[in-house]
Structure formats: structure tokens, C-alpha cells
């Protein structure tokens, strides 16, 4: 296999990992103010992702680094073009990371609710913005013949991309609520997590179907049979996930929704392939895995590193989930 193709796949894998893992911890952060009725409950909710959220976020950082190393021109065009969107994303991630660390270190209710608000904003914004970004990539943005983005921030917002943002937001929230049904002790809070999953799930389903429909009308994704099958399989997996959460089979529900997130991500990247960013001005000016790539030498070095390291990373990160596999109880919060 060509290294350019391999790196496209690797970056897809990194995004799949990122959306699957950080998807549920964004979801938990978004649900924090709604599910956590009191401080103990909120701390239980945070505790469910406490040991893992930072490791999950590294998937995104690695995806950024990998894009820089493998397709520097795509990194340059994307990051300078989506400037203000990324600024908001970063702002969200900054306050979120600080909030996890800061909130419980002071007992005043004002302090805690402020940082809880930051966790909410810092989870809500990135979830929404990643949806906007991914749908923009495939729909196409104004990129000129010099690989420069020539639009503004508002050019990134269309019906399609806003629906994309909302779909990501709601699916991640659903994903987070399913995660919580597995991670908080059996009882009142878990029941409320299920209830909220059922409610959010309906909204997510509607918007997600809207996204699929608009993807059909606004992009060329469905011309690629692999991507189309992948996206429709994602819809199917989502429906099953919803049925399972209704039927209280939480483990299966979470697995299927994870599959849905993974398949959706894969579908969008598959639909992009071999492009990385579509130019809406002229298809010739799109950034591809060839015209935006690093040299074969650099790709080779990076391939060796990635193929050795990614399996190891999966092992120890997986082990963390095993160590913290028990449901979180109110007792866990005090040693």
C-alpha cells in the first residue's frame, strides 16, 4: 500500500479513536449540569471520566500532529482557514481541562458551579465545532489555486454544516449518557442517565437523519459506495443502540453507538478520499493525499513509529479502562 494512502487511513483511525473516546467524555461534560442534581452527583459524573479524559484528548492532539507531519499543507490550510472556529475550540478545551482540575479544590458553591459551567461550555463547543469542521471538509470550502482558504468564519456556517455540528453534539451527548449508564452505580442517577439517553436519542436521531439526507444532497459522499454503506450502517447501529438502551441492555447499547460514531467518522473520511479538503471554487484546487503530502522519506519514518507505537498505546490505554472498570459510587469520592 502506498504510504500516502496508509497515512490517510491512520489519520482516519486517529479521528475515529478521538470521536469514539472523547465523544463520550464531551457527552458527560455536556450532561453535567443537567444530570448532576447536587455536588456529590456532579463529582460522581466527573469521576467517571476523571482518569481517562486527558488520555482521550491526546487522540485529537495526535491527529493534529499526524496531519502536520504527513500532510503539512492540509494542516496549514485547515488551521489557518478555520482560524476563529479553532480559536473557539481551543478556548473551550483550555477552560475544560483547567476546570476538571480546579473545581473540587475549593468548596464554595459559586466556585464549583462556575467551573462546572466551564466543563459544560468546554465540552459543548468542541463537540459542535468538530461537527461543523468535518462537514465543511466534505462539502467544500473556498480554497484557491495557492491552497489558501479565501473565505471568512461565516462561510463555514451553512444549513448543512450547522446540522452537522448539531448532529455531532447530540450524538456525543447520547454517547455520553450511554457511557454513564455503564459507569455510575446502579440506582437513581443511572436511571436518570437512561431517561436522558432516551430523550436525547430521539433528538439525535432526527438531526442525524437530517445530516444523512443533507449529505446526500450537498456532497458527493454517496457516489462512493463504501462511504454510503458505512454511513447507512452507522444509522442502523444507532437505531439498535437506541433500542438496546430502551431494553436496558446498556453494554450492547454503548458498543453499538460506539460503532455508529466510528462508522460515521469512517464514512466522512471515506467520502473525502483521496482528498483531504475539498475546494468549492474548483475541484482541481482540492487538497489531496498527494499534493498536500510530506516526502516519502518522512512518511516512511513516521510509518515505522506509528506502527510500533499505536498498538502499544492501545494496550496501555485499554488497561486503564480495565483498572477503572468498576462503577463509580458516592463512596469512591472520599478515601
Amino acid at each position: 500500500m502506498e504510504l500516502n494512502v496508509l497515512w490517510f487511513i491512520l489519520i482516519t483511525v486517529l479521528f475515529v479513536g478521538f470521536f469514539f473516546l472523547e465523544g463520550f467524555d464531551y457527552g458527560v461534560g455536556i450532561l453535567l449540569p443537567f444530570l448532576g442534581k447536587n455536588d456529590t452527583e456532579r463529582r460522581m459524573l466527573i469521576q467517571t471520566i476523571g482518569p481517562v479524559w486527558d488520555g482521550n484528548e491526546v487522540w485529537m492532539i495526535t491527529a493534529g500532529g499526524a496531519l502536520f507531519a504527513a500532510f503539512p499543507s492540509a494542516y496549514a490550510t485547515l488551521f489557518s482557514g478555520f482560524y476563529l472556529a479553532l480559536f473557539l475550540l481551543l478556548l473551550g478545551l483550555i477552560v475544560r481541562g483547567a476546570a476538571f482540575e480546579f473545581r473540587s479544590r475549593d468548596e464554595s458553591p459559586g466556585w464549583r458551579s462556575t467551573w462546572d459551567g466551564m466543563i459544560f461550555i468546554g465540552s459543548f463547543l468542541p463537540a459542535l465545532l468538530w461537527g461543523v469542521a468535518v462537514t465543511n471538509l466534505i462539502q467544500g470550502v473556498p480554497i484557491n489555486d495557492k491552497m489558501q482558504y479565501v473565505g471568512t468564519f461565516f462561510d463555514l456556517l451553512s444549513l448543512y454544516t450547522v446540522v452537522g455540528g448539531l448532529a455531532f453534539l447530540l450524538v456525543f451527548t447520547f454517547h455520553g449518557s450511554l457511557f454513564l449508564t455503564l459507569k455510575v452505580e446502579k440506582g437513581n442517577l443511572m436511571e436518570r442517565a437512561r431517561k436522558i439517553a432516551l430523550a436525547v436519542g430521539v433528538a439525535a436521531a432526527v438531526v442525524f437523519l437530517g445530516l444523512v439526507g443533507l449529505t446526500y444532497t450537498n456532497t458527493g459522499l454517496f457516489r462512493n459506495s463504501g462511504a454510503a454503506v458505512s454511513l447507512l450502517a452507522a444509522v442502523l447501529a444507532f437505531v439498535f443502540a437506541y433500542c438496546f438502551v430502551y431494553g436496558r441492555r446498556f453494554g450492547l447499547a454503548f458498543v453499538l453507538n460506539s460503532l455508529s460514531v466510528a462508522l460515521t467518522t469512517a464514512a466522512f473520511f471515506w467520502g473525502l478520499f483521496p482528498r483531504l479538503m475539498v475546494s468549492s471554487l474548483n475541484p482541481e484546487w482540492s487538497l489531496t493525499i498527494y499534493n498536500a503530502a510530506s516526502t516519502p522519506y518522512t512518511l516512511k519514518i513516521m510509518t515505522i513509529a506509528a506502527l510500533i507505537l499505536v498498538p502499544v498505546i492501545l494496550l496501555y490505554q485499554g488497561w486503564t479502562y480495565w483498572v477503572f472498570r468498576k462503577r463509580v459510587t458516592a463512596k469512591d469520592l472520599e478515601y
Binding site: 495526535t62 493534529g64 507531519a69 489557518s80 480559536f87 481541562g97 473540587s104 516526502t295 522519506y297
Partner: protein, 463 residues
């Protein structure tokens, strides 16, 4: 202000702010690992409490290091897209390596460390903080490989209108990396040493929790002495290397305008950048030549001569970085470093002679020294980065060629103001929490926990 200037300000602010937290993370993680290892080997609960107390402060600092680090990785693409395009083939690789080899380890094992006190066997738990320490320092290594390329490019060829990597090994074994990394590492060790020493001094002055903070002080001050002496030594070697690969930087930090076969070391200079001379200076004759060449008669190139050389080599232009901030940054770094060596040596001496706690003036001095390593670290980076001007990659690409052409000034203003405000609020919150933790002291443990306020229990969640 132009886009270029705004983008430079943003780079300066975000990088300096990020590096307020990094050195403590690099150094304190090692000290935590040592403390916890002592606890595991001796079973002494006091060391466990010590580890947890310093751990709380470490985590607040670590969190801010991480969140500001995300901006670091993104802003090359955001503000410097043409740099990313021109250099990405080379510069992207160490950044990706950093994420793959270090960030995953660091974040995953820190999560295990924070939440695993009750879940993991003792030895394994101690191993997690060692891994965090190793991974943090590994991440510093990769990012300095990337920065070293900017300072002293190696292993590349100019092809297809960009710099392309032809030798990854050369990138990693770049002499610049060895000097810069060792200097950074020992500076980080010094920072952690001062941090632990200063806060321990506060408790010793208050005469409370002596059983925790005398051992902490010992560990801190030894670390500080080791770090400061070696940071000085590696700094000297680094300067000698810079004389070879970035002569303009060396000339500028010393405000040496004319080439001199027996160059003086200026202690004070009244710099006139317009006329390109020092209107007055106080200097030690021949000392700069000695520092650079280990002999009083070695030629050191001057700014004006280098300007002429570069004009001949790269075409017309101004190749002189801002001499005044460079001169003073370098000299402040030098002085603060010297102060830290003295203080640490004195501290070790007082410890050995058993007179530490009777010499309250020394404890006060140690406490007030807390900001000093932060000044040294920041000025060090000012020297490194301002001294690179006008180049973003030395001799290959100028800063003005690197800036994103498609990002208008208002966008940069928005992000500059936004980040700076949020950074300010976070810094204040961190200081507030740090102060609170220090005032609370290390909590006394399980037996007394019931009588403690709910607040401490709440705080214990994260420790």
C-alpha cells in the same frame, strides 16, 4: 498593528505562558517519583503524605501546562501556515513523535496515578509517576528537537520549493539539541528545587509540619544545587555552540557591535540600536573571547560585521535582531542563575552544619526566591527566540515569509485578546488554589479524616 506583528505577539505570549508551567512539571514529576519511591521502600507514611501534598500543587500546574500546550501545537497552522507548508515535512515529525511517544504515556499514567492510590499495588503506583516523569521529559526532548531545527537546521535539503527531510537521525542528533535539551532539563530541575525549597521554607518559618518539610527542604535544596550548577555549565556550553551556529545571536546578547580578537564581556551597556553602537559600557576586557574560545585571544564576530556577511550571503535586508531586549534578557538570566547557585550552595552548607532552622534570614531569602527561576526560564526563551530573528528557521525562512496570508488582523486580535484574558484568569485561579493548598498544609491522614472539614475531603478527591 500588522498581521505579522500580531502573530508574533501571540506566539510570544502563548509560548511564554506555556513555559511558565512546563519546567515545574518536568522537574517536580521527578521529585514526586523520588518521594513516592522512598515511601514504597521504607513504608514511611510521612513520605506518602508528602508525595500527595506536593502532588496537589503539581497537578494544578500540570493541568495548565497541558491545556496551553494544545495551543502550541495548533498555532503553527493557525498563525504560521506558510511556515507549516515550507517546514512541515521536517517540523511535523517531531511533533507527531511527541504525541505518540510522550503525550499518551503522560496523560494515561497520570490518570492512573491520581486515581489509583487505592486501586493499584504500591510499587505499580510508584511506577506510574516514574513513567509520567519520563514521558514529560521525553516530550520536552521532541519539542526541542523541533525548536533546534529552527535554530540550526540540519538533515534537510531545499527541494520542490520547501525544506525536505533527508536524515531523521541528523535531526535528533543535532548538536543544538544536546546543548538546548540539557540546559532546559537542568533549568527545570532547578525550578522544581526552588519551588519545593521556597514552600518548605515557609513552613519552617511558621514552625509547622516540620516532619514533612524538613525532608522536603533537603530534597529541594539538593535538587536546586544540582540543577543550578549544571544549568550554568550546560548554558556555557550552549553559548559556545551558539557562537558557532548562530554568531549573530551571541553578538546581540553581548551587544558586541564590532568583531574583536579579544572581545570584552559587557556587564552594562547603553545600547544605541540606531547608530549600531554602545554609547557607553562597563566591561571586562577579553572575557567574552575567553568564554567563547577558552582563551583571551579568540575572535568573536560583531553585529555589524555579521550584518555585512549576511547581506552578501542572503541579499539586502536587516539581519540584526533586537539587541536591547536580548542583551538584558541574557544578563538577567545570567544573574538570576548565579543567585540560584549561591542560594542553593548556602542552603546545602547550612543543612550540613545543622544550622538551617536557626538562620531565619536564609529561610526568608529562600521563600522570596520563588519567582526567580520563572524569570530565568522566561528570559532564557526570550534570548532563544528573539535572537533567532529575523529568521523563523535560521538562514532558510524569514518570519515575515512564514505568517498566514489568509488570516486578517481582526481575527488575530480576537484570539490574542481571548487567549490572554483566559490565561490571566487561569493564572489567578491557579495561584489562589496553590495558596489555599499551602495554607491548608498536608492533611493528617485517615485517622483524623472524620474530624476534618468536608472541604478537605472534597479536595482529597483529586489527590
Amino acid at each position: 498593528m500588522t498581521e505579522l506583528l500580531l502573530a508574533r505577539w501571540q506566539f510570544g505570549i502563548t509560548t511564554t505562558y506555556h513555559f511558565l508551567f512546563v519546567p515545574l512539571t518536568l522537574g517536580l514529576s521527578i521529585l514526586l517519583a523520588i518521594m513516592e519511591t522512598i515511601y514504597v521502600r521504607t513504608g514511611n507514611q510521612r513520605y506518602k503524605k508528602m508525595t500527595q501534598f506536593w502532588g496537589k500543587l503539581f497537578l494544578i500546574n500540570f493541568a495548565l501546562g497541558v491545556v496551553t500546550g494544545i495551543v502550541q501545537e495548533f498555532h503553527f497552522g493557525m498563525n504560521w501556515s506558510e511556515y507549516s507548508r515550507f517546514m512541515g515535512d521536517i517540523f511535523g515529525a517531531p511533533l507527531a513523535m511527541e504525541a505518540l511517544t510522550a503525550f499518551f504515556l503522560e496523560s494515561t499514567f497520570l490518570g492512573l496515578w491520581i486515581f489509583g492510590w487505592e486501586r493499584l499495588p504500591k510499587r505499580l503506583h510508584a511506577a506510574t509517576i516514574w513513567i509520567v516523569a519520563l514521558a514529560s521529559n521525553l516530550s520536552a526532548f521532541w519539542i526541542l528537537v523541533a525548536n533546534s531545527f529552527m535554530q540550526s537546521p540540519v538533515g534537510y535539503v531545499l527541494r520542490n520549493g520547501r525544506a525536505e527531510m533527508i536524515d531523521f537521525t541528523a535531526l535528533v542528533t543535532n548538536p543544538y539539541v544536546a546543548f538546548q535539551y540539557s540546559h532546559t532539563f537542568f533549568s527545570a530541575l532547578t525550578t522544581a528545587g526552588v519551588f519545593v525549597t521556597a514552600i518548605s521554607a515557609y513552613y519552617l518559618l511558621k514552625e509547622s509540619y516540620r516532619e514533612y518539610f524538613l525532608p522536603s527542604f533537603r530534597l529541594g535544596v539538593v535538587c536546586m544545587l544540582l540543577g543550578a550548577v549544571l544549568a550554568g555549565g550546560t548554558g556555557h556550553l550552549q553559548a559556545q555552540n551558539i557562537a558557532k551556529v548562530q554568531p549573530m545571536k551571541l553578538a546581540a546578547v553581548e551587544a558586541l557591535w564590532e568583531t574583536d580578537s579579544s572581545a570584552p564581556l559587557a556587564l552594562y551597556a547603553s545600547i544605541d540600536e540606531e547608530k549600531r553602537l554602545n554609547s557607553s559600557e562597563i566591561s571586562i576586557p577579553g572575557a567574552l573571547s575567553f568564554m567563547v574560545h577558552n582563551s583571551f585571544t579568540g575572535e568573536v564576530k560583531g553585529i555589524n560585521n555579521l550584518q555585512a556577511e549576511y547581506t552578501a550571503e542572503f541579499g539586502p535586508g536587516n539581519y540584526i535582531p533586537q539587541v536591547t531586549p536580548l542583551f538584558w534578557s541574557f544578563h538577567i538570566m545570567f544573574l538570576t542563575g548565579g543567585w540560584l547557585v549561591l542560594l542553593a550552595a548556602l542552603g546545602v552548607l547550612l543543612l550540613l552544619t545543622g544550622r538551617l532552622e536557626s538562620q531565619r534570614w536564609f529561610l526568608w531569602a529562600a521563600l522570596w526566591t520563588l519567582p526567580v527561576p520563572y524569570i530565568a526560564n522566561s528570559t532564557g526563551w526570550f534570548v532563544t527566540e528573539i535572537g533567532r530573528q529575523p529568521w523563523i528557521v535560521y538562514g532558510l525562512q524569514r518570519v515575515e515569509q512564514a505568517v498566514s496570508p489568509g488570516v486578517p488582523a481582526p481575527s488575530i486580535w480576537i484570539s490574542l485578546i481571548g487567549f490572554t484574558l483566559v490565561y490571566g484568569v487561569l493564572a489567578l485561579s491557579a495561584v489562589y488554589l496553590g495558596r489555599k493548598i499551602i495554607l491548608q498544609g498536608p492533611d493528617i491522614g485517615h485517622g483524623r479524616e472524620q474530624q476534618q472539614s468536608k472541604a478537605t475531603k472534597e479536595a482529597a478527591l483529586w489527590s
